[in-house]
Amino acid sequence: MRFRGRLVDVACIQHFTRVVSTISKLAKNYVLRITPDKLYFILNDSVTSGGISIWCEMIQANFFDEYNMDGVSAEFNEIYLDIIGENIMRALKSAQSAKSVKVKLTKKHTPCLTFDVQLPSLSVSSRNVVHDVPVNVIARRLWEDYQEPPMPEFDISIYMPPLRLLRNVIDRMKNLSSYVILSGNGNGEMNLSVETDMVSVTTHFRDLSNPTWNKDGELEESQYEISQDGQSQNFVSARIDIKKFSNFLIGQQMNPSKVICNIVHNKVIHFFLIQDDLSLQYFIPVISL
């Protein structure tokens, strides 16, 4: 098992940092899956601890200048590591102005993901910071716990308004209630509402669009046609923990080009962030009354 990658460009380092930071704000520890072409950040929370799932995938070639890996075996050429987000963030924090960052899997006192950061210095040679982040290597037999969650059979799929706008709304709503009801219809309308004994507040968003998905669950580019069914006016809603939603809005730093919200009525909300060839899926389960 071997892994070694090198980030050179400042933009790449920062982009990588933003992705990791986004994930780290959503989950304390998560799984890093390393394959020859892609890196994945995966969280698969059990229902008892909130039932959140995250699936983020990125193409390594867009980040790494050098990238070598050998998986567990030729047949299963992958590595699964359990990592603590905070540690990785700390390691990357000192890499913000770095000349280059080497990331490698090492065996020190324990299996570690080592970040070897070359920093500019006052003299010719560079400063060198090494962070050894302890990781757990996940055994082959447990891999199946970390497979991509299936695309839910959603009732409604809708493009979200700008996340920054949503964030302001949710920030206010957070003071009123611990739950928010997110609802949408096939007519490009989305509502956010909180309800308490004293007050009920709803924010309406209009003129959004509904993406179309083909039968394989692939997104089709012809986005501007409104969904077919005659039920498109009916709202489908889901009640979720407002804190989790707010964390998601605050924490995300990826500047996605598209954010899709898929709602399975009274079951789950599935956020789908797409930015070039980077994608993040985030599942928040419904909390029923």
């Binding site: 540690n87 006192h109 324990t110 210095s121 006052l122 010719v124 910071v129 962070h131």
Partner: protein, 481 residues
């Protein structure tokens, strides 16, 4: 005593107060002939800070000598009639709370002793004729003095504060201690990882720098020292704000590390931090039975772990002096006969002496450090009954002096098992000779040469014990006789 700080220096003064406030809870103020000294020590007494503002720093500086006549009578016991006091850091911080505002508005700051009302008066003369007056209560006190000899340290590094800030910035804020490893070829800064929680689950960070980056780099002794990051951060915050170069003096494991700032001759600052007596080949572990639980709680509140306190503060001075202290009792009284070490304050020998004698002299003679510094009294206690030793926040420095000059830092760790690490500082290694069966006479060594020393001799021996591991039981009582 009266001094007036000009507007452009108030900022520096305020920053100094902020820096001190991050280290200690009391501010010791002492007007001296050569300037105003502001000092503090942290509660576990593993860190000491001193700012010395030269008279040129002020518009007007009067150390209050002329008032001595009246004061002298009131304080017969004082060696000189000079005014010294301590105020709580909080009260002083309230004067300089918002530095940006102070920078913008204050034109002058006047510090004056109001002797009749027993108040230390800080007056901020601001723009538009606004005057803010703070009457702070104070306590008279003995001078606070750490004895250290930075000039004798074989290792000296001078660096720009920015470099050190960058280096420290790589460590997480919750990191408590760092280890500095030096060799002529390179400098390494590592986070210190304690035994718990599991070191395998903790992130290890190591930064290496080349000597070229430093303004001065003299390494006479390859070594590694571990010290608290919190105080270092406070120092660097100050240094960075004032564009200071930081000089670092240190010797070796278990000996104090000194950070010095030199503010273009208008002020200077020294910080003495204890370094950890690392468990290692030179150390042995024993256990002190009574302390464990209580001590652990205390030291947790203290956020600092096993930094050896005392030894650290005075080591250079003491470890050498102990050679001459074959008879421990003489040792105390002979302090003044020792060759004076060029310490930062070497010319001021008297406080040191006073402190050293404190134990002998008893409370009437030396009430100050002993009675007023909470820890001081506790040192006293712990010398009498080791069961009290936990009050010392898990840190005890003990130095022995016997026929064979040997030095130990006894350090009480915070771990589940209360361990006492006996460390023989390698500085004296040539003379080191350890005979397990004959524990040498010991002297409790406190940073301030507090009270404890005389009584300590007998009772501390016990804690010392032998180089072998003694499990728990009553080491103290057994060995004491």
């Amino acid at each position: 005593m009266k001094c007036i700080i000009p507007g452009n220096n108030v900022r520096v003064f305020g920053k100094a107060i902020h820096c001190l406030s991050k280290i200690g809870e009391d501010l010791y103020i002492e007007p001296l002939e050569n300037g105003l000294a502001l000092r503090t020590v942290n509660t576990s007494r593993s860190a000491y800070a001193c700012f010395m503002f030269a008279p040129t720093f002020f518009y007007h500086y009067d150390d209050g000598k002329c008032q001595n006549d009246t004061q002298q009578q009131e304080k017969e016991n004082e060696d000189d009639g000079k005014f010294k006091c301590k105020i709580t850091m909080k009260s002083c911080l309230s004067v300089f709370k918002s530095l940006p505002t102070i920078e913008k508005t204050v034109e002058k700051c006047k510090i004056k002793l109001n002797f009749t009302d027993a108040r230390l008066v800080f007056t901020l003369l601001c723009k538009h004729g606004i005057t803010k007056t703070y009457n702070l209560t104070f306590q008279e006190t003995e001078s606070l003095q750490a004895v250290f000899a930075k000039d004798l340290c074989p290792n000296k590094i001078v660096a720009q504060s920015k470099l050190l800030c960058d280096a420290v910035g790589n460590f997480q804020t919750s990191q408590e201690e760092v280890t500095l490893i030096v060799s002529p070829e390179k400098v390494c800064l590592k986070n210190y990882v304690d035994d718990e929680p599991d070191p395998n689950k903790v992130m290890h960070t190591e930064m290496s720098l080349l000597p070229e980056e430093f303004d001065d780099y003299t390494i006479g002794l390859d070594t590694e020292v571990t010290f608290c990051l919190k105080e270092l951060r406070a120092i660097l915050t100050f240094a960075d704000a004032c564009y200071q170069h930081v000089s670092i003096f240190f010797e070796t494991i278990g000996k104090p590390i000194v950070f010095a700032l030199d503010g273009e001759s208008v002020f200077e600052a020294s910080f003495v931090l204890a370094t950890l007596a690392e468990p290692g080949s030179t150390q042995n572990t024993t256990q002190v039975q009574p302390a464990p639980t209580a001590r652990r709680t205390v030291s947790k509140t203290e956020s600092q772990k096993k930094t050896t306190v005392a030894s650290k503060k005075t080591p250079a001075h003491e470890s050498r002096s102990c050679d001459g202290w074959n008879d421990r009792h003489n040792g105390f009284n002979n302090t003044s006969n020792q060759p004076d070490r060029p310490s930062a304050f070497s010319e001021r020998n008297s406080p040191r002496q006073n402190l050293k004698m404190a134990g002998d002299a008893g409370p009437s003679r030396m009430p100050d450090i002993v009675a007023r510094i909470p820890d001081g009294r506790e040192d006293d206690d712990c010398s009498n009954a080791s069961s009290e030793s936990f009050t010392f926040q898990g840190k005890i420095g003990i130095q022995t002096s016997g026929n064979k000059p040997e030095c130990f830092n006894v350090q009480i760790g915070e771990g589940d098992t209360s361990t006492v690490d006996i460390h023989i500082p390698s500085g004296d290694e040539d003379e080191f000779d350890f005979i397990p069966s004959t524990p040498p006479t010991k002297k409790f060594k406190s940073m301030f040469f507090g009270s404890s020393q005389s009584q300590t001799n007998s009772s501390q021996n016990e804690t010392m014990v032998k180089p072998t591991t003694v499990l728990a039981e009553d080491t103290d009582e057994d060995d004491s006789d």
